[in-house]
Symmetry: C2
Amino acid sequence: MGVLIVGSIALDTVETPYGTLKNGLGGSATYGSVAASFFSPARIVGVVGSDFPECYLSVLEKRKIDLLGLQKITKGRTFKWSGSYDEKDLNSAITRNTELNVFADFHPSLPEEYKNSRFVFLGNIHPSLQIEVLDQLNKPKFVMVDSMNLWINTTRHDLIKVIKRVDLVLLNETEAKMLCDTNNLMTAARKVLALGPKFIIIKKGEHGAMLVSNNEVFIVPAFPIEKVVDPTGAGDSFAGALIGYMASKDKADSSVLRQSLAVGSVIASFNVEDFSLNKMLNLKKSQIKSRLKLLAKLTSFNAPEF
Amino acid sequence: MGVLIVGSIALDTVETPYGTLKNGLGGSATYGSVAASFFSPARIVGVVGSDFPECYLSVLEKRKIDLLGLQKITKGRTFKWSGSYDEKDLNSAITRNTELNVFADFHPSLPEEYKNSRFVFLGNIHPSLQIEVLDQLNKPKFVMVDSMNLWINTTRHDLIKVIKRVDLVLLNETEAKMLCDTNNLMTAARKVLALGPKFIIIKKGEHGAMLVSNNEVFIVPAFPIEKVVDPTGAGDSFAGALIGYMASKDKADSSVLRQSLAVGSVIASFNVEDFSLNKMLNLKKSQIKSRLKLLAKLTSFNAPEF
């Protein structure tokens, strides 16, 4: 069946301690779908302008991503984001500029064959647009939603509406604390679960991620990387790989979710090793498998006896 | 054989979001030895003044801690530390005041029977005093050293000398980055290992701890606690439990080290649930075992297949 990923498709200008990339391929739907495509066929819903380079479309096509839901606005320009990372904190980007462009009037429209998607990732876009997608879906098996501080601050009401309708909420540490008005991640997790979702994942950047449900907690470390070239898209490639792996199993139980967090952590660790999607686009299955083995070794210990 | 723990014995005044404790029992040797005592007999070397309450000595005696190496200065006052924790960051204390008192002229002197100690934890004290201890030891099997930003900034030369002579270096994230002039923890770890120690553990507060050697990495999460009452002594109880567990196995191989990090993480998680050592002093073996099982479940996942 594959996965449906809704989100931004962007031209990113990024400055990191390792250099600068101008108008690189970016956006949550882009990172998410490429990451998902290692495990399941992926389809995206998003929008680009007439300035969107053909070669970037080829990148997505090469990964066999279904672009039927991609709107092209001939009289508009593609969404642009520019930001930088402080050498001292690669976990959070400093946004320099955002040009909404074609995103300003965007309304997601699902092609007929997308409406039966069973696994859906609603990337970080305005919560009202996420609701529009939910309204078009026909009984999805599993929906995961991402968001950001902007929506928590400006459209909290809509965001809560979305949260109540999905299976899994994905937030980073700062967002979770902000949304739930607490400094304790477990308390934040419980408050989100009380709204209805079965799961919450709190992303902790270089410290990994934590999955919480009403009856369990699972913690996956980030795979330690010595040379973090560009953290952009780490969260989205984590999410994309996660939903892609789940879809490949057509299951949303605890065991598969744990595996999918591990898979997400590994894909994200590759993604940060180069600018834009460069590392992911040259990634082999054998590399993913070998890093997954290392990740498992990284956390395993025999039961202590005393 | 038991473990030798050298460090501070303090009267702590601590303010946290949950209240204030005045002149509570504290210090690295105190937290370390009580934590170690769950797994191995512990002996301490330290100093107190005439104001040190008898009941605090009883606390240590009740845990069967050997106090032969405890110096009592009748004309002096005990080392005092006072600090607070910001509600927004329970990972690091804000020091309000430090009174060195008897610690100002302290020189560790090991009783004859301590000199053959096989497992040693050099708690955070001036590196030159740590060297004095090393000089008195007779071929220890395993020495672990802790330090702090103050010594990194003021007596780096002595600290490096200590690091070159021990088996394991324990630092928190900020200290590791500061010592090695890098913002990448793996790079910091490699730089410390290049000085000679076989292992480094980087403590990451609520994000757990990372063990690095020349051929492996192990990451243990912090056990998630919803009500962190007082983080004081978390690092020292982690270290004490770790060295105590290792001593109980009389081994310092990778498998035992991994187990001991898990044990340390669990003991530290109990310690932060109440002020001073209150939680640890009422802790039962069954509670430790049950939380260890939860910790193992917290990180386990089946190998993903795709």
